[in-house]
Amino acid sequence: MISVKEASMVYDNGCRALNKVTFRIEEGEFVFLVGASGSGKSTIIKMLTAEVRPVEGRVLVNNFNIGKIKKREIPYLRRTLGVVYQDFRLIENKTVYENVAFAMRAIGASGKAIKNRVPYVLELVGLIGKEDCRPVELSGGEQQRVAIARALVNNPRVIIADEPTGNLDPERSLELMVLFEKINELGTTVLIVTHAKELVDQFGKRVIMINKGEVASDQTGGYYTYEEE
């Protein structure tokens, strides 16, 4: 569960990125976070992953209070989240299997647990048969599926995807969104930051629109009606 209440964020250079933002995402929801470049979407993601802290207000993510979280608790917060980025952030010299297993290894999972879990997740994202490929041998869509598999492998409660379709063509983008929908149907909360207006409209999910660091609209089953200035 994510609860953001009256949260503001000011960077060290004095730039106010968020101003009294309030929204709440329940377990199992599928939400699009939309807005123009520089509107504050990425700051919200950084706040949810505890890369930055709110200067005021209250941010709760899976029972962790981001404003008061201790440094040593941050890894445990992040284990409840799976984050997917636009640039995939895969390790080039590792295979698909190793990239996904790496995330499990990083939290101290046993070899047996890795052997059991990784094939299941690769099957879920449709990458069976590509286990031994390196990222460079895959298409953009496939690379993003590896990133999603990596985000999913530790069984997080929430998947946060920051512009996941930014580097993909429309067809691959649609496939990816269908995959996120499938993941959501399996019980994982999904929060997707995107610019892809057509995709957002097509899926008809809840849309939170950010404009100039504030929540401009929050409509369940809404549409991406925001026009960039």
């Binding site: 992953t49 992040r78 799976g82 952030r89 790496f102 990083a106 101290g108 990596r150």
Partner: protein, 296 residues
């Protein structure tokens, strides 16, 4: 630390070493050189100390009683002499015994002393003084000379003083080298680990993103520093052994009266100190770098 992770940490630590083979080689080489220089200086200082102690233990002060005193009066001075600070023992040698001893010492040339007997003995009654603390020879000698009835006192203080001076110099060089070369070694290790961390920045950021703890990320780099430090310690130990054998052979050939410790008698200390120094330098150097890289 989870058992299942230990194998991973070791594998990654060794992988880092080979990933930047040249830097690892450079780091080990620099630490080896540093350890050998400081080790050799420390061992020589130790040997000088052995010789100082030996000389001090062998050294005594001989005080000669003024010839206006009869032998009985001279012998009676023992109590006064024993009251002088730092005097442990005072052994009386009357002038007749000294004359006989001298005659024996001269051997074939004893005829030089023909014509001398107790009636015209040119020698004086004396006390052989053993000190409680031989390093205070100068002060003790001065104190004895101020006692009424003592003509003069003789000690081999100059040799001891020079050795002490030499030892102090070696100790100062040792300390300076340990500090300077230790810092250089830490710097080199820090840079080697820094290269490994730079090469793996992306992996570190992904590890942090998926919830790895800082210690999980640190361990392979700590192990890298530890292995490099231990390896350097072991190599330096072997080389130090060979070097010391050569050095002691050379010194004993040229200065047979100089005492040098056997390396075998010191090997476990040297090994322990080299391994310990290697670990401190290795882990210290890697920790310095890791700390700066952890806020990914």
């Amino acid at each position: 630390m989870k058992k299942s992770s230990i194998g991973y940490f070791l594998k990654e630590g060794f992988r880092n070493i080979f990933l930047h083979g040249f830097m690892s080689f450079a780091a080990v080489s620099v630490i080896v050189v540093c350890l050998i220089i400081t080790g050799t200086t420390a061992l020589i200082s130790y040997d000088i100390n052995l010789n100082i102690v030996k000389l001090q233990n062998e050294s005594e002060i001989v005080v000669y009683i003024e010839d206006t005193y009869t032998t009985e009066e001279a012998r009676a001075m023992e109590k006064t002499i024993l009251q002088v600070d730092n005097v442990a023992k005072a052994e009386f040698e009357d002038k007749d015994t000294a004359l006989e001893a001298y005659r024996e010492e001269l051997g074939e040339n004893a005829d030089l002393l023909d014509g001398f007997d107790s009636s015209n003995n040119p020698l004086r009654d004396a006390f052989h003084i053993t000190m409680k603390d031989p390093s205070k020879v100068a002060a003790t000698k001065a104190a004895l000379e101020s006692v009424d009835g003592i003509g003069n006192a003789v000690a081999n203080e100059e040799v001891v003083a020079r050795l002490i001076q030499l030892q102090r110099m070696f100790q100062a060089i040792s300390v300076t080298l340990v500090v300077a070369l230790g810092l250089i070694s830490i710097f080199i290790i820090a840079n080697t680990v820094k290269l490994a961390m730079l090469a793996r920045r992306r992996e570190i950021s992904i590890q942090k993103m998926v919830g790895a703890t800082n210690w999980f990320i640190r361990w392979p780099f700590v192990i890298e520093g530890l292995v490099l430090g231990l390896l350097a310690g072991a190599i330096a130990f072997g080389l130090e052994w060979a070097l010391y054998e050569q050095l002691s052979g050379f010194i004993l050939d040229n200065l047979p009266q100089f005492t040098m410790a056997e390396f075998q008698g010191l090997m476990f200390y040297v090994l322990g100190i080299f391994a310990g120094a290697g670990v401190i330098v290795g882990v210290g150097g890697s920790s310095l770098t890791i700390r700066r890289f952890m806020d990914v």
